[in-house]
Every structure is written in structure tokens, then in C-alpha cells.
């Protein structure tokens, strides 16, 4: 039998039993759509998180006081707490040729007031390089000016929410505000960039690091953000940071350096695995659809026993019959997959056009995986009924049993 005749004959049979075929096709379509949709949900989440991290800045290293690993050796004889990270530690890092910029960060909460209005917000102390390290954009005014961080003028850059709460619709640039017991002049307004890793950039005030240290009466830095000179300089920069801090802290390794890449890699792996797991669960529904295909094919074989007998009398070989029934199963699976994948793409497009905050993204492997699993189950579950048909005894089959 020619392959095109086998296929057209199978298609003809499927259309002759339209209801049955449509229902099976629907099951396969729902299964493949589930695979594609759920994996695009996972992929969307992955890209969302990666985006968030990339917004932090590029080639970023974060220096945190304290160590998160224990090393061997006896415990120190004298009680010893990790040393604080100081502004001098931060500035010393600039000696490394692999480091482009640093931004020391001191953080605290304090009431901010202008006139009669007051609001308790996060106060972030840093330097002018903070803007470049974090890729911050300004809506108006300018950022903290460069200069000696020890004697920076009392300027503040504030977020959108804080500006609205304090000044309403009036222009905040140039206004005087009070943070704690100190006075500052507002010189810049941050662009609203949403929530970035938990810190709401819209509701904070950015002031010079020395002012923040004085405000909170604490010389310790919360962390130091370091921008390496390039992607390839990240490792060298990390080594330099550790070496410089060790030299300054009497030979103690008492800081932790997190590279953005390591962080990204971890999240990438976790969310990638999650996407695969979700897709795997969806694939189970495809296997269920496969069982449905088998059921439909078994019914079809038993209803067409006499027809199989006739085909054998007319000279059909076993593999002709096998081909006919397998083609039916595979056509159902293929049509169902095509419909399901189209449906999923349509759903993703619709979702993305309606929801702006989060975008679904179909990973390139998802339609392939859906098609492979669905055709595979069609083949496996179609095989048993097809073999049963092919092996029917022609005399008994012609008699209808």
C-alpha cells in the first residue's frame, strides 16, 4: 500500500467517525496546550527574576560583612566578632585594577519630614557612583554629586512615592527636608522603577553615606556594591576584594562576596528545574490522552473486524493493516498536538496583551516536547490495537468475530 493511500484512508476513517475523533483530538489538544502553557509560565517566571537581577546592575559584586562558611581550626581564644565594613574599607577596594566603581551602602529607617508632613521611610546612604552601579534613572534633578565621600554636602535624592507624600504635586527639587534631626536639600527625584529585590525604590531617600552614618550613629556599612571592569574581571575582582579586606582586617577573612552571576546562575537553575517539573506534570495529561487514543482505537478495531477480514481477503498484508490503524492514532495525535500548540500560543499572546506586569514566554523546547510526547504516546498506545487488528484471522474476522 502506498503511504499517501494509507494516510488518506486513515483520515477518511477518522472523519467518518467525527464525534469520536473530535473528542480524542480535544484530549490531546488540551494535553499539549497544558505542556506549552505551563512551561511558558515557568519560563516567564525565570525571565522575570533574571530581569530583576539584571536591573541591579551589570558585573556586580556584593560585599557583605561576616562569613557564611566555617573553616577548620580551633575556635579563636579571644571572643571575636566580625569586623564592621567601613567606608575606608570600601574606598580601599578602588586600588584594585579590576574594579571600576564602588558604592558603599548604609541603610536605616528614619522619619522624613517637610513642613508639617512626615513619613517614616528607608534611608539609603551611598555615593555618586551608586547611580551607575545600580543603573538608576532620574525623573528630575540630579544625583548625589561626586567628591570626597567624607565631606559630602547634605543633599538628598528621593523616590516618587515619598515625593508625592511630602509635596503632593508640587515640585520637590530644591525643597528642604528634615531626616531625623538633620536637614537636607532635595536635588533629585528617582524614576519610578517598581520594586527591585524587596527595596521599594519609590519610597526611600538617598543621602550621602557619611550623612547616613552620622544619622544612624553607626560607622558600619550594610554592604558594598562593587562593579568590576568587565565580565572577565569578575573573578579577579573577587580575589582582590578578599585580599584587600583581609589585609585591612588583620588577616581575617570576615566578609562574603556574592557575584551577581553566581546568584543569577542559582536562580536560573532553580527556575529552570521548576519549569521542567511543571511541564512534566502537564505531560501526564498527554499520557492520559494516549490512553484515550488506545480506547478509541480498540473500539474502532472491534467495530471494524469484518472490514479487516475483507481487507485481508482483498490481499492486505499484516503491515498494511498495522499501518492503517497506526496512522489513525498518529493522525489524531498530530492534529491534536497542532491544535493544542496553536491554542497555547494564542493563549500566551492573549495573556501578554492583557497583563503587562508579567509576560509568559514559550520556551523553544516546549512545543517540541509536547509534539514528541504526544506523537510518542499516540504511537505506543496505538500499537496494541493496530497489532490486534493486523493479527486477526481473516475467516473469523469476515464472520464478524
Amino acid at each position: 500500500m502506498r503511504i499517501e493511500d494509507t494516510l488518506s484512508s486513515a483520515a477518511h476513517t477518522l472523519t467518518a467517525h467525527a464525534t469520536r475523533s473530535w473528542l480524542t483530538l480535544l484530549a490531546v489538544a488540551l494535553g499539549s496546550a497544558a505542556v506549552v502553557l505551563l512551561s511558558s509560565l515557568g519560563e516567564g517566571a525565570r525571565r522575570y527574576v533574571l530581569d530583576e537581577f539584571t536591573q541591579l546592575g551589570t558585573h556586580l559584586l556584593i560585599v557583605i560583612p561576616g562569613r557564611n562558611e566555617t573553616t577548620g581550626g580551633p575556635p579563636p581564644l579571644l571572643g571575636e566578632t566580625p569586623r564592621d565594613l567601613t567606608l575606608q574599607d570600601a574606598l580601599a577596594l578602588l586600588r584594585s585594577p579590576h574594579i571600576a566603581r564602588i558604592a558603599p551602602v548604609a541603610v536605616g529607617e528614619a522619619p522624613v519630614s517637610a513642613g508639617s508632613r512626615s513619613r517614616e521611610v528607608t534611608i539609603l546612604g551611598s555615593t555618586s557612583d551608586y547611580r551607575a552601579v545600580r543603573n538608576l534613572a532620574l525623573a528630575a534633578g540630579r544625583f548625589l554629586p561626586p567628591g570626597d565621600p567624607e565631606r559630602a554636602p547634605p543633599y538628598a535624592v528621593i523616590g516618587q512615592t515619598l515625593a508625592e507624600e511630602l509635596f503632593g504635586s508640587a515640585n520637590p527639587i530644591g525643597a528642604r527636608i528634615r531626616i531625623g534631626d538633620r536637614r537636607f536639600r532635595v536635588i533629585g527625584l528617582l524614576e519610578a522603577s517598581g520594586v527591585s529585590l524587596g527595596s521599594n525604590l519609590a519610597d526611600l531617600a538617598l543621602i550621602p553615606v557619611s550623612a547616613a552614618q552620622a544619622l544612624f550613629d553607626n560607622p558600619a556599612l550594610f554592604r558594598i556594591l562593587v562593579q568590576a571592569r568587565g565580565r572577565s574581571a569578575l573573578d579577579a575582582a573577587q580575589d582582590d576584594i578578599l585580599a584587600i579586606i583581609r589585609a585591612r582586617h588583620d588577616g581575617e577573612d570576615d566578609v562574603t562576596v556574592i557575584t551577581q552571576d553566581a546568584l543569577l546562575g542559582t536562580f536560573d537553575r532553580i527556575l529552570g528545574a521548576l519549569t521542567l517539573a511543571v511541564a512534566g506534570i502537564a505531560a501526564i495529561s498527554l499520557a492520559v490522552a494516549g490512553v484515550l487514543i488506545m480506547n478509541v482505537m480498540l473500539v474502532s478495531v472491534s467495530q471494524r473486524t469484518a472490514e479487516v477480514g475483507l481487507l485481508k481477503a482483498l490481499g492486505a498484508r499484516e503491515h498494511d493493516i498495522l499501518g492503517l490503524f497506526l496512522s489513525e492514532a498518529l493522525l489524531l495525535a498530530a492534529a491534536g498536538t497542532a491544535a493544542g500548540i496553536s491554542l497555547a500560543y494564542l493563549g500566551v499572546a492573549l495573556f501578554n496583551s492583557q497583563v503587562a506586569a508579567f509576560a509568559l514566554a514559550v520556551p523553544p523546547w516546549a512545543p517540541l516536547a509536547a509534539a514528541t510526547v504526544s506523537l510518542g504516546t499516540g504511537l505506543i498506545f496505538g500499537l496494541l490495537p493496530a497489532l490486534r487488528a493486523a493479527r486477526l484471522d481473516p475467516v473469523a474476522a469476515l464472520a464478524g468475530h
Partner: protein
């Protein structure tokens, strides 16, 4: 040329063994017209199934056109069925979802013939049965006589040398039955070997050769 020697066919029914065919020896020349007759259960249909290579004997030899068929594998037997034998059944056995044309086309499709020459052969076969106007009709839109003539067109479309007809008029009224018998005999007149299994003595009388069976043996 059909040569059967010492054909035995036994079935196991529960604990007992039924001998459906006992030591059948039969030779039919090309172009013969034989009627196989006998009461129900005498082995007529079993004989026809053996002749049609649908069933295998437990013992004996069956040479079809000089080819020993009992040692052939299923693939080769399917090929012989396709090329040498045409079947006509009492119940017509037309595929209900296919048109008359498509039903007649089936053996050629199974033989892997290309669509263009295939269609020409089907048209000729239908025309020979006077069914050109009915080519696009499905079986349920045809009369019994027309259905059986579609079946005959299907049996002859591969130009076989042997037609096996199992009670071809059994489901037809007299007029339609006569049409069908006339069509079969016309084929025989063109040189095809025709073997008809029948209960009907009138039909049996028309054959040049009558094979009377009882209890699995030829009388």
C-alpha cells in the same frame, strides 16, 4: 488450475475435534464453472476458505496455477489473494463509508497501484457491471443487486483468474439474483474460473460441474 490432494481441515471445538474437511481431492481446470453444494455444516465454506487462501489445511496439498501454496508464508499468500483470486460474499462486505467507486478501488489501493491507472481500471470495472451512474453512491444508497454487482466489480478489478462466490444470491430477491448470476457467468465465459458455493439447486444446476459435499467429504 486448481489441484487439491488429500486436504484435511480439523477444528477443535471444546474437547471434541471436528473434521470439517476429510481427504479432499479436487482438480479444476482454468475456465471451469463449479457449484459446491451440500447441507449446512457439510464443509462448503471451509473448502472455499481453503481455496481462497484465507485458511490453511492441516494436511494435504493445494497447488494454485502450479504454485504449492501450503508452504507459503502469510505475505506470499496475501500476494496470491491480491493477484489471482476475487471474492464475492453473501453479505457483500462493502465498506459502508466508502462510495461504490472507492470500494472497487480498494484492492488496487492495497496492491499499491498509482492513482491514475487505478481510476481507469475502476471505471472499466464499474462500466462492465453497468454501475457507471452509481459510482459516487455509498452502499446504503444502492439496492441489494447493485451492491453485489459492486462487489463483483471489486472482485474482478485486479483481473484475477479465479472468482470464489459464497452464496452470492443468498441475500437477494429472484430478479436481482439472476442479474448477479448472469454477471458471474459472463465472467466465466471470458475465461475466469468460477466456483460458487450455494444452497440453491437452481443455481447449482447452471454450473457445468457440481461438487456435492456431505460431512466434510466430496460425494
Amino acid at each position: 488450475m486448481i489441484e487439491l490432494t488429500g486436504i484435511e481441515r480439523r477444528f477443535q471445538v471444546g474437547d471434541t475435534e471436528v473434521r470439517a474437511l476429510r481427504q479432499i481431492d479436487l482438480t479444476l481446470a482454468d475456465g471451469d464453472y463449479a457449484a459446491v453444494m451440500g447441507p449446512s455444516g457439510s464443509g462448503k465454506s471451509t473448502l472455499l476458505n481453503i481455496l481462497g487462501l484465507l485458511d490453511r489445511p492441516n494436511a494435504g496439498r493445494y497447488r494454485l496455477d502450479g504454485v504449492e501454496t501450503t508452504t507459503l508464508d502469510e505475505e506470499a499468500r496475501a500476494r496470491l489473494r491480491r493477484e489471482r483470486i476475487g471474492f464475492v460474499f453473501q453479505a457483500f462486505h462493502l465498506v459502508p463509508r466508502l462510495t461504490a467507486f472507492e470500494n472497487v478501488e480498494l484492492p488496487l489501493v492495497l496492491a499499491g497501484m498509482a492513482p491514475r491507472p487505478r481510476r481507469e481500471r475502476v471505471r472499466q470495472s464499474l462500466a462492465a457491471m453497468g454501475l457507471t451512474a452509481r459510482a459516487g453512491h455509498r452502499p446504503d444508497q444502492l439496492s441489494g443487486g447493485q451492491r453485489q454487482r459492486v462487489a463483483i466489480a471489486r472482485a474482478t478489478v485486479t483481473e484475477p483468474g479465479l472468482i470464489l462466490a459464497d452464496e452470492p444470491t443468498g441475500n437477494l430477491d429472484r430478479a436481482a439474483g439472476e442479474d448477479v448470476v448472469a454477471a458471474l457467468e459472463a465472467l466465466n465465459n471470458k475465461g475466469l474460473t468460477l466456483i460458487v458455493v450455494t444452497h440453491d439447486p437452481a443455481l447449482g444446476e447452471r454450473a457445468r460441474r457440481r461438487i456435492q459435499m456431505d460431512d466434510g467429504a466430496i460425494l
